[in-house]
C-alpha cells in the first residue's frame, strides 16, 4: 500500500501540472494564440505553425526537449557533469542546424531556385530600390541602441527591417541567439501584415499623379543573361563582403539550378522537398528557443515595436528613392514599386500592384515591382553580411 502511495506521489510530483511555472504557462498560451493566427487568420502559416508548435513543445514542463546537458550551446551549471551530445533534447539537437546557419542557407537555396530575376535584369535600376528599402535596418539599429540594447542585439533587431525571415534568423543566430524567437516571430508576423503596414506609408509619401504612372513594358531577358547573373552576383558579393557569401552564394546557386536548364531535378528538389523539410525544422527549433524566462520580458515588446519601425522605414526608404527616380527619369518610374524593395517576396510586389490599380485601373505594376522585390532579397543579405562583418 505504501509503495502504491509513493508511486502515485512521485507521478504527481513529476507531472507537468506540478512542474509548470507561470512563464511556461504564459508561453503555452502564446503558442496557442500564434497557432490560432496561423491556422485561422492565415498569418504566414507555413512558418508560424511550426514556430508556434516549437514554442509549445519547448515549454512543456519537464519534457526537456531543448535541454543541453552536454553544454554544447549553453553554459553548464557549476559542478554539473557534461553529458554526451546525444543526451540533449531532440529539439536542441535539431537546433544545431540554426546555430550553424545550415537551415537559413538551405532556405536561401530554395528561394534562389524559386526566384525569377528576369524583371531585375530587365530593369537593373530596381537594385537601387532594393538597397534603399534597407533603410529601416539601420534606423531600427540606432533606435535599439537608444533603448539600451547591445550592438549585437541592435543589429539583430534592425535586420527585421530587411523583411527576410531566413536572413533575420541567420544574423540573430550568430549575434544574439537569445533573441531568436521574438525576432523570428516579429519578422514573420510583419511579413504577413505587409498589406496592412505598407499602403498607408505608400499613400502618405506619394502624390496621386505619381501613383498613376504607367511604366513601359519590360524587355525580354535572354537565357544567357539569366545564367550569367547568379555567377556574377555570387562572385561580386563574396569579393566585396565575404561574410554574406554563405547567404548570397546559396541564393545564387539555387537560381543557377533553376536557370541553367540542365539541372531540373535538382531545381525541383530545392524548390519543393528541400525547402519544405528545412522549413519544418527551422520553424520548429526557432520556436523552441522561446524560453519563457527570456521571452516574457519588456524587451520582447520593444523588439516587436522596433521591428514594426524597421519595416515602416524600409518601406519609406524604397518609396522615397522611387520618388527620386520618378523625378530623375521624368516620370517614367512609379514610386509605388519602391515599397516592394522590402524583400517579402512576392507579397510586397503584390501590394504595389494592388495600390497602383486603385488609382489607375489599367496599371499593371506587378512585374515592375518584382524587380525591387527580388533586389531586396540580395539587399537584406548584403545588409546582414555587413552587420556580421562589423559585429560577428
Amino acid at each position: 500500500m505504501e509503495m502504491v502511495k509513493d508511486a502515485l506521489l512521485t507521478l504527481v510530483r513529476e507531472s507537468g501540472f506540478a512542474l509548470l511555472t507561470w512563464q511556461e504557462g504564459v508561453m503555452l498560451l502564446v503558442s496557442f494564440l500564434l497557432l490560432f493566427l496561423a491556422i485561422v487568420k492565415k498569418f504566414e502559416p507555413l512558418l508560424l505553425v511550426p514556430i508556434a508548435f516549437g514554442i509549445m513543445l519547448a515549454n512543456l514542463p519537464g519534457a526537456g526537449l531543448m535541454d543541453d546537458p552536454a553544454g554544447i550551446m549553453t553554459e553548464l551549471a557549476e559542478g554539473a557533469t557534461r553529458a554526451h551530445w546525444y543526451e540533449n533534447g531532440v529539439l536542441r539537437l535539431i537546433y544545431a542546424g540554426v546555430k550553424s546557419s545550415i537551415f537559413p542557407c538551405l532556405i536561401f537555396l530554395g528561394i534562389g531556385a524559386m526566384t525569377d530575376f528576369g524583371p531585375l535584369l530587365a530593369n537593373p535600376i530596381s537594385l537601387l530600390l532594393g538597397a534603399a528599402a534597407q533603410l529601416g535596418v539601420y534606423v531600427a539599429f540606432l533606435l535599439a541602441r537608444t533603448f539600451g540594447f547591445t550592438v549585437y542585439e541592435a543589429a539583430s533587431i534592425g535586420i527585421i527591417g530587411g523583411a527576410d525571415g531566413p536572413t533575420a534568423i541567420f544574423l540573430t543566430g550568430k549575434l544574439a541567439p537569445d533573441l531568436l524567437a521574438p525576432i523570428a516571430v516579429a519578422a514573420y508576423s510583419y511579413m504577413a501584415l505587409i498589406p496592412l503596414i505598407q499602403p498607408p506609408i505608400m499613400k502618405a509619401l506619394t502624390t496621386e499623379k505619381e501613383r498613376k504612372v504607367e511604366m513601359k513594358q519590360l524587355r525580354k531577358v535572354s537565357k544567357a543573361e539569366k545564367i550569367i547573373f547568379p555567377v556574377v552576383v555570387a562572385v561580386l558579393c563574396a569579393f566585396l563582403i565575404p561574410s554574406c557569401a554563405s547567404l548570397i552564394g546559396m541564393l545564387m546557386f539555387g537560381n543557377l539550378l533553376k536557370e541553367c536548364g540542365v539541372t531540373d531535378r535538382l531545381s525541383d528538389v530545392a524548390q519543393n522537398a528541400l525547402t519544405n523539410i528545412v522549413t519544418i525544422m527551422l520553424g520548429l527549433t526557432v520556436g523552441a528557443t522561446a524560453n519563457g524566462a527570456i521571452f516574457l520580458q519588456l524587451k520582447t515588446i520593444l523588439i516587436i515595436v522596433l521591428g514594426l519601425t524597421a519595416f515602416s522605414f524600409s518601406t519609406a526608404g524604397g518609396v522615397l528613392l522611387g520618388k527620386l527616380l520618378y523625378l530623375v527619369t521624368g516620370g517614367k518610374i512609379n514610386p509605388l514599386i519602391g515599397a516592394a524593395g522590402v524583400s517579402a517576396v512576392p507579397m510586397a510586389a503584390r501590394v504595389a500592384q494592388v495600390e497602383g490599380r486603385k488609382y489607375n485601373p489599367t496599371n499593371f505594376l506587378l512585374m515592375h515591382a518584382m524587380g525591387p522585390n527580388v533586389a531586396g532579397v540580395i539587399g537584406s543579405a548584403v545588409a546582414a553580411g555587413f552587420l556580421l562583418s562589423m559585429f560577428g
Binding site: 531585375l120 535584369l121 537593373p124 535600376i125 537594385l127 537601387l128 532594393g130 538597397a131 534603399a132 534597407q134 533603410l135 535596418v137 539601420y138 534606423v139 539599429f141 540606432l142 541602441r145 537608444t146 533603448f147 539600451g148 540594447f149 550592438v151 541592435a154 531577358v221 535572354s222 544567357a224 543573361e225 550569367i228 547573373f229 556574377v232 552576383v233 561580386l236 558579393c237 566585396l240 563582403i241 520580458q297 519588456l298 524587451k299 520593444l302 533586389a375 540580395i378 539587399g379 548584403v382 545588409a383 555587413f386 552587420l387 562589423m390
Partner: protein
Amino acid sequence: MDIKFQIPAADDFLTAALGITVVMATLALIAVFILLISKIIRIIEGKAKKAEADTKPAPAPAGVPMPSGMNNGEVDLIGVDEKTAAVIMAIVSQQSEIPLNRLSFKSIKLIDDGKKGGEA
C-alpha cells in the same frame, strides 16, 4: 533588461551610415555589371542573328510597322469567332517572336477535321 535611454554613440551613427552606403554601393555595382553583361550579350546575340540572317534569303519587305498592339488590315474569319481568332493571332505572334504590329493575317478559317487553320 533595464530599459535605459541613451543617445547612440558616434560609432553607432557611423555604422548605420556606412551600412546603408555599403548596401547601396554593392547593389549599384551589381546593377552596373548587369547593364554591361546584358549589353555584351545583346551585341553577341545581335551579331549571331545578323550572321544567320545573311545566310538566309532576304524576306519580303516588311512595310511600315503599325502602332504597338494593332494589326495590319482586315482578317477574314471563316467559322471562327473573334475571340478565338485573337487568341490564335497572339499565339502565332509569340511563337514566331514577331510583334503583332508587324504581322499581317489574311484569313483564319475552321478546317474540315475540326482543327482551325489560317494563313498569315
